[in-house]
Symmetry: C2
Subunit: 107 residues, 2 copies
């Protein structure tokens, strides 16, 4: 698939694992932003729930996420971090594309 690809991630972290998760998330954000196919990687948390994180990620295309990102050297550390810190079933991805061909989000 060609064209900008968006990934929105919601992550519920166990409160007792918050400090470890935050350190790992910072490292993952920095490493992902350095990938050639990553256009944007915004790290947020819900206004009223500091243990629920929201990521907004833009990639050059779908392959940059499913192949490039997931094959990156730093990716196994991220999945291991989530296994340790995230509430069971608490990581949910939404995949999205530009709604209008003439209005494509950029970096």
């Amino acid at each position: 698939m060609n064209g900008v690809f968006a990934v929105l991630v919601t992550i519920d972290v166990r409160p007792e694992a918050l400090a470890e998760f935050e350190a790992g998330l910072r490292a993952n954000a920095a490493a992902t932003r350095a990938e050639p196919g990553c256009l944007r990687f915004d790290v947020l948390r819900e206004r009223d729930d500091a243990s629920r994180f929201v990521l907004y990620e833009l990639y050059t295309d779908e392959d940059a996420f499913f192949t490039g990102h997931r094959a990156a050297a730093h990716y196994p550390a991220w999945t291991a971090l989530c296994e340790r810190c995230v509430v069971p079933g608490g990581r949910r991805n939404t995949y999205a594309v530009p709604a209008f061909a003439e209005d494509v989000p950029d970096a």
Copy 2:
């Protein structure tokens, strides 16, 4: 509240109202981007569901959204559009803030 404020919106549109909704959404996006407090307004839809839209909006602060955006001249047309076109209960907002003070998303 000071500091960047993010609004993520999921909108389920009635399939028969899709053309009307798309035209109104284009207009709303253009008008919102022209607001002084709006930093970013990305218009997406789910990869596997063309009737589910996802908006990613960044504002300079919470007031820019709850006061500036909702008091804008174009806002009533948006709410009326949603009343006509959106599945009942199908518009959901998530409010978020930067997870880390040293890593704030920009426009």
